[in-house]
Symmetry: C2
Subunit: 338 residues, 2 copies
């Protein structure tokens, strides 16, 4: 077998992650022990949460330690196996890390159903944590009801675009906030959002007033910062602010900027709630069934941004998440060259 290239965390970044925060390590591909198997990675999921995993200290999951292979979800094929449930040739998805080959004992690994009329990559997006986050965040944490007005920030991102689509197919009125006219046009024309606000060229506060005159019932926030503050001022009575992430804040060296308008929660008798999708693990099956059906029916677009390159492209591809460059689920599809 060939060698295994992997990215290990070398430094905890200050501000945005840099190329120098990583060590590229080359090792022999491991041999599986009893009850183990080796996966050759095909696709890596690149997620905003990765930036948080690089920080020290308490969070919803332990940080990646210095010297550890960077955490990442991926898909791949079993290429060597001493595990009865994962024979060679099986397609799988799991938390395999940023590397070309991963050794696994099967814990947390799901088999990919080749019969489903969905691409493998959907297991990293719509049928993976992205779709699950959107599903439980909107329907469970956000308690969304048909007829309500939903505003999604980071609306062109993987989670945001899914939240908006799920709200639409449940009879919601959906307003997306995204950066750039192209993204906004995409949300309205391709994904069926009722309106989109370009935060780069529009006054978000005024635009929300125009598009949500009756107030916002669910504000699904992936972004934080000023956009969250603008959203707080438009809450309908009894609204919910779902705190899913704060991509505008992850690279901040000054610490996160809190929502100065939080007293709007009092005026609107509203609730701001955080959640972590892995808490819903015992209900994943319900959600995946629903999401797969919507995807198969064409009611849900699988919005992907797939970069075809070698693993060496990982550091620079990751930065696209934080510069507003990508639309939809960012995936690095590994090619075997370079």
């Amino acid at each position: 077998m060939s060698t295994n290239r992997q990215y290990r965390l070398a430094h905890r970044p200050v501000g945005a992650a840099q190329e120098t925060d990583w060590d590229l390590v080359t090792e022999p591909v491991p041999d599986p022990g009893d009850g183990q198997f080796v996966v050759q990675l095909q696709q890596l999921s690149l997620d905003p949460a990765m930036r948080g995993w690089m920080n020290a200290g308490k969070s919803y999951i332990p940080p990646v330690e210095i010297g550890q292979v960077m955490r990442a979800y991926g898909t791949g094929a079993v290429v060597a196996s001493r595990h009865p449930d994962f024979p060679v040739g099986e397609l799988v998805t799991g938390e395999f890390g940023v590397q070309e080959y991963a050794l696994s004992d099967g814990r947390g690994v799901r088999r990919i159903d080749r019969e489903l009329p969905v691409p493998t990559s959907a297991y990293l997006g719509l049928l993976g944590l992205t779709g699950l986050t959107a599903y439980f965040g909107l329907l469970d944490v956000g308690r969304f009801q048909s007829g309500q007005t939903v505003v999604v920030s980071g609306a062109a991102g993987a989670v945001g675009s899914t939240v908006g689509q799920i709200a639409k197919l449940h009879g919601g009125r959906v307003i997306g906030i995204a950066g750039g006219t192209e993204k906004c046009r995409y949300l309205v024309n391709e994904l069926g959002f009722d309106a989109a606000i370009d935060y780069k060229s529009e006054n978000v506060r005024q635009a929300l007033r125009a598009h949500a005159p009756g107030g916002v019932d669910v504000f699904f926030d992936n972004v934080g910062g000023d956009i969250l503050d603008d959203g707080l001022l438009r809450l309908a009575q009894g609204a919910t602010v779902v705190i899913c992430g704060a991509v505008s804040q992850y690279n901040s060296t000054a610490g996160a900027q809190g929502p100065n308008n939080y007293l709007a929660l009092l005026i609107a008798r509203a609730r701001m709630e955080g959640f972590v999708v892995t808490d819903y693990e015992d209900r994943y099956a319900e959600a995946i069934d629903a999401l797969a059906q919507w995807l198969a029916d064409g009611r849900l677009h699988n919005v992907e941004d797939i970069v075809h390159d070698s693993i060496l492209a990982f550091p620079r591809t990751l930065t696209r998440l934080f510069t507003g460059e990508n639309t939809g689920k960012l995936i690095l599809e590994l090619e075997r060259m370079a």
Copy 2:
């Protein structure tokens, strides 16, 4: 009859309210029309919320307009009446304004039960909005359960001291945050709090770590600012942050300071929720029954800070709420001299 002195709002304050924000107006005491009565005010309730009512713009209730008598709750005696339900001599409580005599048609006015072994002033505190705010904020919004750890900011204030006592008599572990050793000693020695943190001399973040090693289940916030931020870092999984007020922020000219640590809501899967007690109006009777019983049984201390003076003391007495000077429910008891 004599004249009626009243304070009307002259200017919307910038920062703290000043003497010059008020017009002292002297009018003849009105005659009651059909279905009306006149109350001679005995006690005025002074509340942190008053600062918010002086601001223009949307809030949970309309602002006091320039030239209007300042809004205030009070108790008093009916001294003239053409209303069958409120004969002369009746003791009543209601939103009568900052004045010596008020004309009323009975809407929102409650009769004071002279049979109950509680002082009249309790109707402005424990049996009024203060007690109701503490009761519904802790038990309903906060979903407090026996055995949980509760942290109350502004703990020596009227609402805060009541929240802590209600949590104690329901089997909670209660930590108060207040300013000064005297207040802290009072909370622990007189009111039975398990611990008190003096934010003026202690590092609140460290003290919370020491007093709530297992995390905080309910953080009842009256204060905002840095203390809210410190509390967010100690939340237990599934915690609730009850946003009752933000007395540290009301006089801020730079706008409120948002909780920069709000992403702790995500890590702790926690919820921050605002409420307004008047939404619970149809459940007031349940709460007042419970509060009156606890008060009569001596299980609840009626913590009052009564200033005996004429109505001319209103402007300077109000400022005590924002300078950390008062403990418990602040009441101006009107004396009939100058």
